[in-house]
């Protein structure tokens, strides 16, 4: 039981608990907070694997921007507790078992297929920011440009959607 394993299990437990709490919490703000916990835990796992840049970006973008946006919207709409309606019998009875089935399928598949993979090396030049950026601007430059267009479009869309027409 090395230190790395300890940290892993701690963070994993944190993530899973956060995810579960996202489900059981009835107020959206609490769900959002749980999700933030999950994200921070994941960032920790990335660090553990040595993907430091991704970890930082994970927290900056997900934690610092996206989730803030969520909370902002929740506060703006002053969303209250979630009401327990059950209009969809299908979702009520079949939904959760099916979701668990999906989990089982993926889990089993991964468990049986990836046993032979080598364990990740923490740190190292492999995923230093320099490598990533070189890759990003050489091999993945077209997707990169496309994403910038995507963001532009998203901005315009958001503006158009959110403005009151008058």
């Amino acid at each position: 039981m090395t230190g790395a394993l300890v940290i892993f299990f701690a963070l994993a437990a944190l993530a899973v608990l956060g995810a579960i709490s996202l489900i059981v919490q009835r107020h959206p703000i609490h769900s959002a907070l749980s999700l933030i916990v999950v994200m921070v835990a994941l960032a920790g796992l990335y660090l553990l694997m040595g993907a430091e840049f991704v970890a930082a970006v994970q927290i900056i973008v997900y934690g610092g921007a996206i989730m803030v946006l969520f909370i902002f919207v929740i506060m703006l709409l002053n969303a209250g507790e979630e009401e327990r309606t059950n209009f969809s019998r299908l979702a009520t009875f079949a939904g959760v078992p099916l979701a668990l089935a999906v989990t089982g399928l993926i889990g089993a598949g991964i468990a049986r297929s990836s046993a032979s993979l080598p364990a990740p090396e923490p740190g190292g030049v492999l995923t230093s920011t320099r490598t990533l950026s070189t890759l990003l601007f050489s091999e993945f430059v077209y997707p990169f440009e496309l994403t910038s267009f995507l963001i532009l479009v998203a901005i315009l869309g958001a503006i158009v959607l959110a403005q009151r027409e008058n």
């Binding site: 209009f87 969809s88 299908l90 979702a91 079949a94 939904g95 099916l98 979701a99 089935a101 999906v102 399928l105 993926i106 089993a108 598949g109 049986r112 297929s113 032979s116």
Partner: protein, 648 residues
């Protein structure tokens, strides 16, 4: 520029005029419409003359060219190819010339009618299709023209479509022609199946090598010839399909003159002559043609005797004259048939136009019993009509004398019951001269039977009378090509056509000049007899007596229409009403359509349930899909698990 290389312009010009008038003519003044219609037709006439000149300049070499590739399917190939040989030359000149004259005439005749632009648009369209028909170098293109003129005839017969009789006549013409066209198409298919081509040249060159089929034995060629002849009977109003032509007189008189006398109805004759090789290789078919033609000539003439409608008389005479042409072809004298076709185009157009002028004069009245004594009032018309009458009656030196004479002579000389054919033809000639002179007397002499108070008779304007005079001149001189033949000279017309129609004339031309003279004398005597009888009966103002006995039968055209009604039409109507409509359409087709509707609605009703609009149930559906996908992806990984064997 050598016009021959641009032969397609000649048919195209009328089409252009037709399009212009049809699309924009509605709001144009008559002058503009005239300019377009006459301009296009006249120009194509001029070009035709130029083309013929070049044709002669080339030493009468048959000109043949594919201008546009049209249909290519497997071995089948039909192009837009035009052909100009002696036969087409004759037809071309007749069509464009007479057509042009009739156009001029129409500008006067239709001046006060509604739908002026429509009329000329149709007329030009007809010119286009007719030219296609006569210039076509393969059966397919010829069939295009064939159908096209049928269409135009339908449109023009039903020109006064507000009048039910006119509309019905149009439909009748169309349907009866369909029957013939059906036969024609079958004939074409048979030819293609036999010779793997529909180009005249290809078919006939192959055919020339074949031996003629035995008399009475029915081979492919015979059947094809007969089928084509069926089409010809439809288009050229022969027994048994002649019934539409008299009713077609519902159309305006220029139309009757152009389409139902001069050009379209002769298309059948043209086709038979064009494919004369086929017929000469099928003697039995040829015999059938002769018999049918002869019978029609006599039969129609008898009906013509008693008709009171001036245009009906001419219509039946047209039928009978067409019979003559077929007789000529049937006995192998194709050039004689074509010769008569040409002369007939002249004098019958003349007669119709004069009749139109008469009708114009008496204000739309067509019943001869309500005319009379017009000779002094409308002199020009009278003289022109008289020319036409003499011509058709067959007095020398008028056109029909030569042509009819040639036909009868050929018939006399033809083996296999030639004498009988000759006799019947002669009798028909007597009848012909009788009913035409009857027409003259009833119309122009005897005391007037119309009331002068309402009808004020007046001569037609120049643009109607001038074409009359031209045609009168033509019907006088049109036959003189054959004039030398009488004096042992040579028949220029026959010689001219010889390259196309070949040495088939041999059958007709042999036999001494003396015999020919006697026969012509006999013919003249027959014409005179008819003239005298008519004079005897009608010169002193005859009354329209009560029609009885034979007269009644004739007056009702042997009740043929009623017969057809009973035998063909009503059973058809019954079947279509009680079987096709009530059973097949309602029960079967509507059943299918409604069934499709019902089934799809039922499916929709069931499937609609999933479209609840509830996002969560949609999410569940997404999950189901995801499970399937994952199962497929992971199957190769997972299925060892079912046997507990772990992969490395």
């Amino acid at each position: 520029m050598p016009i021959l290389d641009y032969l397609w312009i000649i048919p195209l010009l009328p089409l252009l005029g037709s399009a212009l008038n049809g699309l924009f003519g509605k709001n144009w003044p008559n002058k503009v419409v005239n300019t377009v219609a006459l301009g296009s037709t006249g120009l194509s006439f001029v070009l035709a003359i130029e083309a013929v000149r070049e044709f002669f300049a080339n030493g009468q070499q048959p000109f043949r060219r594919e201008f546009v590739e049209w249909i290519v399917a497997g071995t089948f190939h039909a192009g837009f190819n035009l052909e100009l040989d002696q036969l087409s030359v004759v037809m071309l000149l007749v069509v464009t010339g007479v057509g042009f004259l009739i156009h001029i005439y129409s500008t006067g005749y239709m001046a006060h009618e509604g739908g002026y632009y429509r009329f000329f648009s149709y007329l030009n369209l007809f010119m286009f299709f007719m030219l296609i028909l006569v210039l076509a170098a393969n059966f397919v293109l010829l069939f295009v023209g064939w159908e096209g003129v049928g269409l135009c005839s339908y449109l023009l017969v039903g020109f006064y479509f507000l009048r039910k009789s006119a509309a019905d006549a149009g439909k009748k013409a169309f349907i009866v022609n369909r029957i013939g066209d059906f036969g024609f198409m079958l004939g074409m298919f048979l030819l293609f199946r036999t010779f793997h081509s529909l180009d005249f040249s290809a078919v006939f060159t192959q055919m020339a090598t074949l031996p003629p089929e035995e008399m009475g034995q029915f081979g492919v060629l015979t059947i094809a010839a007969l089928l084509l002849f069926v089409g010809a009977t439809g288009k050229s109003a022969q027994i048994p399909l002649y019934v539409w032509l008299p009713d077609a007189m519902e159309g305006p008189t220029p139309v009757s003159a152009l389409i139902h006398a001069a050009t379209m109805v002769t298309a059948g004759v043209y086709v038979v002559a064009r494919s004369h090789l086929l017929y000469t290789h099928a003697p039995s078919a040829m015999y059938v043609v002769a018999v049918v033609g002869c019978a029609t000539a006599f039969f129609a003439a008898t009906i013509g005797l008693v008709q009171s409608d001036i245009k009906k008389v001419l219509a039946y005479s047209t039928v009978s004259q067409l019979g003559y042409m077929f007789l000529g072809c049937g006995v192998g004298a194709f050039s004689a048939g074509i010769f008569h076709l040409m002369t007939h185009a002249f004098f019958k157009a003349l007669l119709f136009l004069s009749a139109g002028s008469v009708i114009h004069a008496v204000g739309g009245e067509q019943d001869m019993w309500k005319m009379g004594g017009l000779a002094s009032k409308i002199k020009v018309t009278f003289w022109c009509m008289l020319f036409g009458t003499i011509a058709i009656a067959g007095f020398p030196p008028f056109a029909a004398f030569f042509s009819k004479d040639a036909i009868l002579f050929a018939a006399y000389n033809s083996e296999a019951g030639g004498k009988t054919l000759y006799a019947v033809g002669l009798l028909a000639a007597v009848l012909t001269s009788f009913y035409v002179f009857r027409l003259i007397w009833l119309t122009f002499f005897t005391e007037p039977r119309y009331d002068e108070h309402h009808v004020h008779v007046h001569e037609s304007p120049k643009n109607m009378t001038v074409p009359l005079m031209i045609l009168a001149f033509l019907s006088l001189t049109g036959g003189w090509f054959a004039l030398p033949a009488l004096f042992g000279g040579k028949d220029y017309f026959t010689d001219f056509l010889a390259p196309v129609l070949g040495s088939v004339e041999a059958a007709g031309t042999e036999g001494s000049a003396s015999l020919e003279h006697t026969l012509s004398l006999v013919a003249v005597a027959a014409a005179t007899a008819g003239l005298l009888v008519a004079w005897r009966m009608y010169t002193k103002g005859a009354k329209q007596g009560p029609s009885t006995g034979l007269h009644k039968v004739l007056y009702h055209k042997y009740y043929i229409d009623e017969l057809y009604q009973a035998v063909v039409v009503s059973p058809l109507v019954w079947v279509s009403t009680n079987v096709l409509w009530k059973v097949i359409d309602v029960g079967f087709i509507d059943g299918i359509v409604n069934g499709v509707g019902t089934v799809s609605r039922a499916i929709g009703d069931t499937v609609r349930q999933t479209q609840s609009g509830n996002t969560r149930s949609y999410a569940v559906w997404v999950l189901v899909g995801a499970i399937v996908v994952f199962a497929i992806i992971f199957w190769p990984i997972l299925h060892p698990a079912l046997f507990g064997e772990v992969r490395p």
